[in-house]
């Protein structure tokens, strides 16, 4: 019966006893050890390849900014000075969303303040289908302009796309103030002086277009090459006035 220890105590000679061989041992050429794969030198660690612009994660770097950076850029886009800042996509995305929201909520907010809070009159939601229509138009108009115009500018000026989107996105800050101001002015239509109100609105839109053109001219740094883009921008401001106000 096997005890599971076969071969343990089957030594013919004491393996620990030192003995000299009678005949010299023949030199046996060392045989290569089989079934053991030769050691392969470890491959050098490959450097991480940069992400291609077609991948979504590529744009992650343009969303990593601090509140201070963002504030600085927003204030810079409101001022007339040209301050160079690293481009980002957070601003273009959310500033444009704010423009759309300020157009949608602005008029209702001022009506609410004047009638509901100060006047104590129960306010009803203005023509909701008209409001929804303006919301849809402001969304497609502002987002399409902010994202598509940089394509044209890229071809025209032979520069990178992302900085152009950033520039156009931050230039929309002017429209936030503009939308709120136009909403306030629009409330005075109830006084019955439509002609005067319309002129004031066109003046405000002209000022917005002027400010945007000046900022874009400075930030694009392309001299006369940027003139067609400025014409397109003025046309955009006129379209926004006609469609939204």
């Amino acid at each position: 019966m096997s005890d599971g220890l076969d071969g343990v105590d089957d030594f013919g000679v004491n393996p620990f006893e030192e003995t000299l061989p009678d005949t010299p041992l023949e030199e046996v050429p060392p045989e290569p050890i089989r079934n053991i794969e030769p050691e392969i030198a470890p491959k050098p660690i490959e450097e991480e390849r940069p992400l291609a612009p077609g991948l979504l994660n590529y744009y992650s770097r343009y969303f990593q900014l601090t509140t201070a950076d963002f504030r600085k850029r927003v204030l810079g886009s409101l001022s007339l000075r040209n301050e160079a800042s690293p481009p980002d996509l957070y601003g273009p995305l959310w500033i444009t969303a704010t423009v759309v929201m300020s157009r949608f909520l602005g008029s209702g907010l001022f009506t609410l303040c004047i009638d509901g809070v100060f006047g104590g009159i129960s306010t009803e939601v203005k023509d909701s289908s008209r409001q929804s229509w303006k919301l849809v138009h402001s969304a497609w108009l502002f987002y399409a302009y902010t994202l598509l115009t940089p394509f044209i500018a890229q071809k025209l000026l032979a520069t990178n796309f992302i900085p152009l989107v950033s520039t156009y996105g931050y230039s929309n800050v002017t429209w936030i103030a503009g939308c709120l101001l136009l909403s306030v002015v629009d409330e005075f239509r109830r006084l019955g002086k439509n002609f005067v109100i319309t002129i004031i609105e066109w003046v405000i839109v002209s000022l917005i277009a002027l400010k945007r053109s000046y900022s874009l001219y400075n930030e694009l740094e392309a001299g006369r090459k940027s003139l067609p883009l400025l014409v397109v921008d003025v046309a955009f401001c006129v379209a926004a006035k006609i469609l939204l106000f």
Partner: protein, 244 residues
């Protein structure tokens, strides 16, 4: 199935003998040869029988070694309560946000809160379940992608934020808006008081959720940036409760 039907176990993968096998619940394979006629295994130990009777059949009782049902389906009431408390008291919760809470992706609480919100609106005469689900889904997907982009990672790659983490945080921080819709059952919110309450509850939700995301994404000086999209997200629900 042929592996399981082989009585000798001579082919297929290794199966330990029954005395060394780890109990695997009621669905585990019990070899016919390992148990005797009276149900005892080779060690003479009979498994605990399932409790019989109609009430036991309808209850969640099972074998003693089985995990509880809530654990099996991933609902941890302790976490639900802890996260709810943190949302209810966002000012003093700054130091309580442990990794365990932050990494939790429980969706039971959010589901309850969204259903409660819809139910309270329903009691106020507004049927908006479709809007709630739609806005919640679209908003969660958008905010998840934005949060991943904004996640500050030293390697430069986006943060390893799971979608259900984002959904859980957004859902738990939705609780204050449930209070708003509850008030809307008894009072009309389409007045100055309603607007003020709406603003307060939206700010509450935004504050709580931005604190969660700030810790989760380890943002540095970017809490206001993540708070702004969250503010818009919760504002949509408040508008739904007040105006629609």
């Amino acid at each position: 199935m042929s592996y399981y039907q082989n009585p000798k176990g001579s082919s297929g993968f290794y199966q330990p003998s029954s005395q060394f096998a780890f109990p695997q619940g009621s669905m585990s394979f019990q070899g016919a040869s390992s148990t005797s006629a009276n149900g005892a295994d080779s060690l003479g130990i009979s498994p605990d029988p399932l409790p019989s009777g109609l009430f036991n059949a309808l209850s969640t009782k099972g074998y003693p070694h089985e995990p509880p049902l809530l654990e099996e389906i991933g609902i941890n009431f302790a976490h639900v309560i802890t996260k709810t408390r943190i949302v209810c008291n966002p000012v003093s919760s700054r130091n309580i946000l442990s990794d365990e809470i932050l990494g939790d992706s429980d969706l039971a609480g959010p589901l309850i809160f969204f259903l409660l919100f819809g139910l309270f609106l329903l009691l106020a005469g507004k049927v908006h379940f479709g809007y709630i689900y739609g806005v919640a889904l679209f908003g969660t997907v958008s905010l998840h992608n934005l949060s991943k982009f904004m996640g500050n990672n030293e390697s430069g790659s986006p943060a390893k934020l799971q979608f259900f983490n984002t959904a859980s945080v957004l859902g738990y921080c939705f609780l204050p808006l449930c209070f708003l819709s509850l008030i809307g059952v008894f009072l009309s919110l389409d007045n100055t008081l309603g607007y003020a309450l709406g603003a307060i509850f939206v700010a509450w939700s935004t504050w709580s959720s931005s604190a969660f995301f700030n810790s989760l994404l380890q943002l540095h000086d970017a809490r206001a940036l993540i708070a702004y999209p969250l503010l818009i997200f919760y504002t949509v629900f408040a508008l739904m409760a007040i105006f629609v």
